[in-house]
């Protein structure tokens, strides 16, 4: 997190009155809501969450074992803030932006208490190249220079949004530490490569715009049926083991965003380790650069303190907004928002607040919508366009979507990818249920697909949806009488639907080739199935029995389209063989 800078705001120390897990009360503390405090002799980091007369309630971001009444509480007088500047990419933080690599250096493999570290290295120097000159006028948000942050990302140094702006009176290019002033304004304001921002406050922008470009994910069922826009919002609810995390990882790997902020909120340690291990080895399919060089990770795993879990999504979205301000498309994944909601619930119940539905605080819905509101496509203060797409996993207890977090999330987000335990059990991956899921962006994104993939894209998608719908209805009959009792044309429809499910909707995240599928390939694969459909129905009409149609050698090759590197040739050959083999029969 931000190392609260010395200000004249430093106030009177308080005294601990009581300790109960992550919640501590203090008396005589002169503080404002959300001020960051250091608690006890060890100086554990905490935040003011309630003030009642002389009694202040704090949530503490570290374990409180052995902390006792009577110990001091020191107020920094600053709200919980993050450090923003070069060095955030290729980093991994805990929920309050402490770099986990630095913590490991300082305290070894286990997370000890009372250690603080700045979010970005204050000593490291970066090469600052100014884009303004003396005499230029700059306003809040304006870009004053650039820094090569990683192989793939050029960091833009901006006038902080809470500055007044003015005329540049001095500007220096060259190597500087992030705390050194690189640009000075006539009103005395000094600009460094680093700025601070309170995490619970959205960074300002000029206006929100309607998103019209898809966030291409490389996942067929998403790009093909339920796309999310750049600047859009999506929820992935599902019981344990249904594929939330793998889907989020797939998006973090393959989505065509400029920047990825991945928030592991109250989930498994090894899942974060997996990302740390895999990402540096993987290439961004768009730029060919290592994926890690566009990624910022925030890991507050399930066994780390619960208060920091509450704050980690805010830390993540603030970092996302900062890169958006530079004009980048940022994708933020939060796995899982339910753990964040539960952290709210845990703290709320220790505060003895009136519980709402299922014990969640009454402000649950408000917090969720505030969070997703920070996503969007924006016209930034500096006139550039940027976006934050927010994709939240939801972990409903018992897999029951009627619970408060799922329901409140669904009221806000525009894309719903419903995971299905039954599909997961039969290892149909990704286990996204095509009947329940939806995207409200399809209409506004269609022009993009028409222009960039194929004119026929929306129609072909509709065809697939229709076949799957029909299959759903036919399956109900099959359950009663068996497949062979259906008329031949319906049997054939079932066969076509099976190919849509097995060779198109299914996609193996762990296969080197299949893991990523371009929109062109997605479209072409569905085209091959449509070819089979058309040729097969022609054959049926010409009197060929359905078993013979199903049995042609070429048909099972549809199932291997996904794993083909050289898919264009494979698919066109396959379409030829299908036509040839079927036409031979009549």
């Amino acid at each position: 997190m931000s190392q609260a800078t010395e200000t004249d705001a430093v106030r009177e120390d308080g005294v601990i009155e009581s300790v109960s897990g992550p919640v501590v009360t203090a008396t005589d503390l002169d503080a404002r809501m959300n001020d960051v405090v250091y608690v006890g002799d060890e100086g554990l980091m905490g935040e003011v969450i309630e003030i009642e007369g002389n009694l202040t309630t704090l949530q503490v971001y570290e374990e409180t074992s052995n902390v006792a009444p009577g110990e001091p509480v020191e107020n920094t007088g600053e709200p919980l803030s993050v450090d923003l500047g070069p060095g955030m990419l290729d980093s991994i933080y805990d929920g309050v932006q402490r770099p986990l690599a630095v913590l490991e250096d300082q305290m070894g493999a286990f997370l000890d208490r009372g250690v603080d570290a700045p979010g970005i290295d204050l000593e490291k120097t970066w090469e600052f190249e100014p884009t303004v000159e003396e005499g230029d006028d700059v306003a809040p948000g304006d870009i004053v220079g650039t820094v090569p942050e990683t192989e793939s990302i050029e960091h833009k140094v901006m006038v902080p949004p809470d500055y007044e702006g003015g005329e540049v009176v001095s500007v220096d290019g060259g190597n500087f530490a992030v705390t050194e002033t690189v640009v000075e304004l006539d009103n005395g304001e000094e600009i460094q490569m680093r700025q601070e921002w309170p995490v619970r406050e959205a960074r300002p922008a000029k206006e929100k715009e309607t998103p019209r470009t898809p966030l291409v994910s490389g996942q067929r069922i998403l790009d093909g049926l339920f796309p999310i826009a750049k600047g859009g919002t999506a929820a992935i609810p599902g019981p344990f083991g249904s594929g939330k995390t793998v889907t989020q990882h797939q998006l973090a790997k393959w989505a065509d965003a400029d920047i990825v902020v991945y928030v592991g909120c109250g989930e498994r340690g090894n899942e974060m380790t997996e990302v740390i291990d895999d990402f540096p080895e993987l290439e961004d399919p768009m730029t060919g650069k290592p994926l890690m060089s566009r990624t910022c990770l925030i890991a507050n795993t399930s066994n780390m303190p619960v208060a920091a879990r509450e704050s980690c999504v805010y830390t993540g979205i603030t970092i996302a907004e900062y890169y958006r301000d530079m004009g980048y498309d940022v994708a933020l994944m939060a796995d899982s928002t339910s753990r964040w909601a539960e952290a709210m619930r845990e703290i709320s119940s220790r505060l003895e607040e009136m519980p709402g539905e299922e014990g969640y605080p009454a402000y649950l819905a408000a917090r969720l919508s505030e969070f997703y509101e920070r996503a969007g496509k924006f016209r930034n203060l500096n006139g550039s366009e940027g976006s934050v797409s927010a994709i939240g996993a939801v972990s409903p207890p018992g897999g029951d979507f009627s619970e408060p977090v799922t329901q409140n999330t669904l009221r806000i987000v525009k894309t719903f990818w419903a995971l299905d335990a039954d599909l997961a059990e039969r290892r149909h991956f990704p286990s996204i249920n095509w009947n329940e899921s939806y995207s409200l962006y399809t209409d506004q994104l269609d022009p993009w697909y028409v222009e960039n993939v194929d004119e026929n894209f929306p129609d072909r998608r509709q065809w697939a949806v229709d076949v799957l719908d029909e299959e759903g209805e036919l399956q109900e009959i099959v359950q009663l009488v068996g497949k062979d009792a259906l008329p031949e044309d319906q049997q054939l429809t079932l066969e076509v639907a099976r190919y849509i499910r097995e060779s198109w909707l299914q996609q193996n995240a762990f296969h080197d080739v299949d893991t990523f599928c371009s929109p062109e390939k997605t479209y072409a694969m569905l085209g091959a199935i449509e070819t089979f459909n058309d040729e097969a129905f022609d054959a049926l009409e010409a009197g060929v029995p359905v078993e013979e149609i199903q049995d042609i050698d070429a048909a099972p090759r549809l199932n291997r389209m996904g794993v083909q590197d050289d898919w264009e040739e494979y698919i066109s050959d396959l379409e030829d063989s299908i036509a040839e083999q079927l036409r031979e029969k009549y």
Binding site: S20, S65, N66, A68, S302, N303, P397, G398, V481, E502
Partner: protein
């Protein structure tokens, strides 16, 4: 150290006492009853003037005149390699009549979280010799893989079979150095003496006791103590793994009893209950146990967890299995129907899962075709299961020849692949071999999850011709 005789209230497992000095949160407390018993407890809430104490051994016999001593430190586990071979009670006191334990160090039982940046991703295949696990839901060193069972089901047999048979194939080649011996930590929480004996007898019979540390909290031991037992066990496991280089397998049973104890304490504190009366923080609490499995970069050993839980009413949406499944790296389901059919071990592979499997199998780990074979077996078995419902309605004759093959496949899968008995130890090659044998009952073109190259290599030679003959004979 000051003594107080200031107890103001006793309520369930909790004692409230007035104090005139600051007492640390989580601090250890000793309470001496008038008849001379000493009970241990822990500070649950500390405010100036008043503390709430959770008493591990139960509040029986405590009255307002009992004296309360605060020990000024949090609960510690004395650790040493000499613990191997010892039997302790649920709060770490020896009960085997053996010599006093001379600790090497004393570790806080609330373990600090492993920094995710310091973890090493677990990838080492453990061969359990059980096909339903090795083939379909592979166990990896450093994984936390619970057994989801129900009351009266043979989960203990499975846990013991794994403990007996678990090996890492490269060990056989003898390139394992001294530093990485195998150890078992057994943490019993509220199980019956009979169940406990089942474990102890097996440990003794196989000589496993020598490399085990046993923590026993039995059904008639105090319930609150159960909240401490797994922490004692895991603290010992971490010490042996990360300081002494052991590969430690931790068996914790029964997590359901642990959770009941949490609920009891929550109720006594009059907390706002979460789902079905369990505390709202149960997810966090369980995570602080389960996440203590794993590997750490640069350290030799590992902690693998095999927690056992009995699902109340066989319902996996109950908070205990549900929250567990959300934290652990998969789960193994013991199935009541398979059990009554006599399948041993009665593992239902479909809802079972090993999340670490993908990176721990395949070429260089198990065998190149492993992932594809597993995927195909899953898909085929799921299809066969579906058809069973239909067959009940329309009869076998109404189904196509192919559908009948899938039905046969599902039957054979259960009786040949899953049902192996508790004494059979299969190598991964044997397991995959049986898998291919079963797949041979399906036509080649049905094997769409398997790379064509592997079909070429492994598909049983005679199978295709058999299938063809059958067709001809029809």
């Amino acid at each position: 150290m000051k003594e107080y005789q200031t107890i103001t209230e006793i309520s369930g497992p909790l004692v409230f006492a007035e104090v005139d000095e600051p007492i640390g949160y989580d601090e250890i407390v000793e309470i001496e009853t008038p008849n001379g018993d000493t009970k241990r407890g822990q500070v649950l809430e500390s405010s100036s003037g008043l503390v709430a104490i959770q008493v591990f051994e139960g509040t029986e016999g405590i009255d307002r005149k009992s004296s309360v001593r605060f020990l000024g430190e949090t609960l510690k586990m004395p650790v040493t390699e000499d613990l191997l071979g010892r039997v302790l009670d649920g709060s770490g006191q020896p009960i085997d009549g053996g010599p006093e334990i001379v600790p090497d160090d004393r570790h806080d039982i609330v373990g600090a979280a492993i920094n995710p940046y310091a973890r090493e991703y677990p990838q080492e295949f453990i061969q359990t010799g059980v096909s339903a696990i090795d083939g379909m839901n592979t166990l990896i060193r450093g994984q936390k893989l619970p057994i989801f069972s129900g009351s009266g089901l043979p989960h203990n047999d499975l846990a013991l079979q794994i403990a007996r048979q678990a090996s890492v194939p490269e060990e056989e080649e003898g390139d394992d150095d001294e530093g990485s011996e195998f150890a078992v930590i057994f943490g019993a929480m509220g199980i019956t003496a009979e169940e406990a004996n089942e474990f102890m007898d097996d440990f003794e019979r196989t000589g496993a006791l020598e490399r085990s540390v046993v923590f026993m909290n039995l059904a008639d031991d105090p319930a609150v103590e159960r909240t401490v037992t797994p922490r004692m066990a895991l603290t010992t496991a971490e010490y042996l793994a990360f300081e002494k280089g052991y590969h430690v397998l931790v068996i914790l049973t029964d997590m359901t009893n642990y959770c009941e104890a949490l609920r009891e304490i929550g109720a006594a504190r009059e907390e706002v209950p979460g789902r079905r009366g369990y505390p709202g923080y149960m997810y966090t609490d369980l995570a602080q146990l389960y996440e203590r499995a794993g590997r750490i970069e640069g350290r030799e050993g590992s902690v693998t967890q095999l927690p056992i839980l009995t699902m109340p009413g066989d319902d996996d949406t109950h908070p205990i299995p549900d929250l567990t499944g959300y934290i652990t790296e998969g789960q193994i389901y013991i199935d009541r129907d398979l059990n009554s059919q006599g399948i041993e071990p009665p593992i239902d592979v479909l809802p079972s899962l090993s999340r670490l499997m993908d990176d721990g199998i395949g070429e260089g780990f198990t065998r190149e075709d492993h992932e594809d074979v597993a995927n195909q077996l899953f898909a085929a078995y799921a299809r066969g299961e579906d058809l069973r419902d239909l067959v009940n309605i329309v009869g076998r004759e109404a189904l196509s020849e192919l559908d009948n093959k899938y039905l046969d496949f599902a039957d054979r899968f259960e009786t040949e692949f899953v049902d192996q008995g508790s004494e059979t130890n299969r190598s991964i090659e044997e397991t995959l071999g049986i898998g291919w044998d079963l797949l041979g009952g399906l036509p080649k073109q049905e094997l769409n999850r398997i790379d064509e190259e592997f079909i070429e290599t492994y598909y049983p030679e005679d199978a295709e011709s058999e299938t063809a003959e059958e067709v001809a004979a029809d």
